[in-house]
């Protein structure tokens, strides 16, 4: 079928601001939006710039706004979005070119969460693994799925308002460790997250949860972090 694709274009070396360009391509309804982008880049306009790698929703490269909502281009099929598609870059991050945004602030926020295991206690005497029950493991399973695509953070109205907000993706990273029974850094992370630019900026708008291509219950995880600050309970 014929698909009409309207794409946001911005070439920093020529344009003062972005504009839209419309392309018509032949595509199958089971094609990914990414396939359509590749086709346009391959045959119509090679200068179209976007990131991609894995092509099946596990690397987090190609988050973008498709028909007004954040998606991974490689995990969105034509049959899900119809024959008229508008593709725009993520909101709230600088557009570097076409659909490519500057991801550095996003990763900087991630790094503020001390996103690594903190545990200075001695290892088990037998030198083997630290024990963890399947239930304890399940406690933070959700948040380990994050591929850092930024679809959530760039859909959050609080992040649009100010990029000082750490954003849902960073909170998910913190959640991953706070509720890991082997980790001992929960306190430090909670202190960071209790700052004005931390979880206080989340007003449960749920855009993040709806945008997440990994179906992580982000708002719930943020809620759990908020409650942990109040009760101190980490289980």
């Amino acid at each position: 079928m014929e698909v009409t694709v309207k794409i946001f274009r911005y070439n920093p070396e020529q344009d003062k601001r972005g504009h839209y360009e419309t392309y018509k391509v032949e595509a199958d309804e089971n094609d990914r939006v990414l396939d359509v982008l590749e086709l346009i880049k391959g045959h119509t306009d090679g200068s179209l710039a976007f990131r991609r790698s894995c092509a099946h929703g596990v690397c987090g490269s190609d988050a973008m706004r498709i028909n007004g909502r954040n998606h991974l281009a490689c995990k969105t099929l034509i049959r899900d979005v119809g024959a008229n598609i508008t593709i725009e870059p993520l909101l709230g991050l600088k557009v570097a070119k076409d659909l490519i945004v500057d991801m550095d602030p996003f990763f900087d926020n991630y790094k503020k969460m001390l996103p690594y295991m903190i545990n200075d206690s001695p290892l088990p005497a037998d030198g083997k693994e630290r024990l963890q029950s399947p239930e304890q493991r399940a406690r933070f399973d959700e948040s380990t799925k994050c591929i850092m695509c930024a679809a959530c953070t760039t859909s959050c109205p609080s992040f649009w308002a100010s990029d000082e907000y750490y954003g849902p993706a960073a909170i998910i990273a913190a959640h991953r460790f706070i509720f890991d029974s082997r980790d001992e850094g929960a306190s430090e992370r909670l202190q960071v997250l209790s700052e004005t630019d931390g979880v206080a900026r989340c007003h449960t708008a749920f855009n993040c949860t709806n945008a997440c291509p990994r179906d992580i219950h982000i708002t719930q995880a943020i809620g759990e972090v908020k409650l942990a600050m109040v009760t101190g309970k980490l289980d």
Binding site: G92, A96, L227
Partner: protein, 120 residues
């Protein structure tokens, strides 16, 4: 280099965040409206004529009822989910219930306001 990151209000509002995002927007508008309402309320109590005149306007009253009741009911939903994060999974159900309750109460309130406006 690069385009500014600013997301203007309209772009933000056009984001297709669906129902839950709408409740957030309405909650915010409602909260702000209630804040103004509260300010006027105090001024009215203090006897400021202009504030009182505003309050007597049926249209103003309806706006306040619509936004205020939404804020109160949505606020209750937020609070319940916040205190029991496990329930957040079911946020869509929660929001549907909320709309049902809201339409009932709000309908009744508008009726009351209109009746008073007509009768008073």
């Amino acid at each position: 280099m690069g385009l500014n990151r600013n997301v203007d209000l309209l772009t933000g509002l056009r984001y297709k965040g669906q129902g839950p995002y709408l409740t957030f927007i309405l909650h915010r508008i409602g909260g702000s409206a209630l804040f103004i309402f509260f300010t006027l309320y105090i001024l009215t109590l203090a006897g400021v004529e202009f504030a009182h005149a505003l309050f007597s306007n049926a249209l103003v009253q309806i706006v306040i009822v619509v936004l205020g009741i939404f804020h109160a009911i949505n606020g209750l939903r937020i609070t319940i989910l916040d205190l029991f994060p496990k329930l957040i999974q079911h946020y869509r159900v929660a929001i549907n219930i909320e709309w049902a309750v809201y339409i009932l109460i709000c309908g009744f309130a508008i009726f009351v306001v209109l009746r008073s406006a007509a009768g008073g």
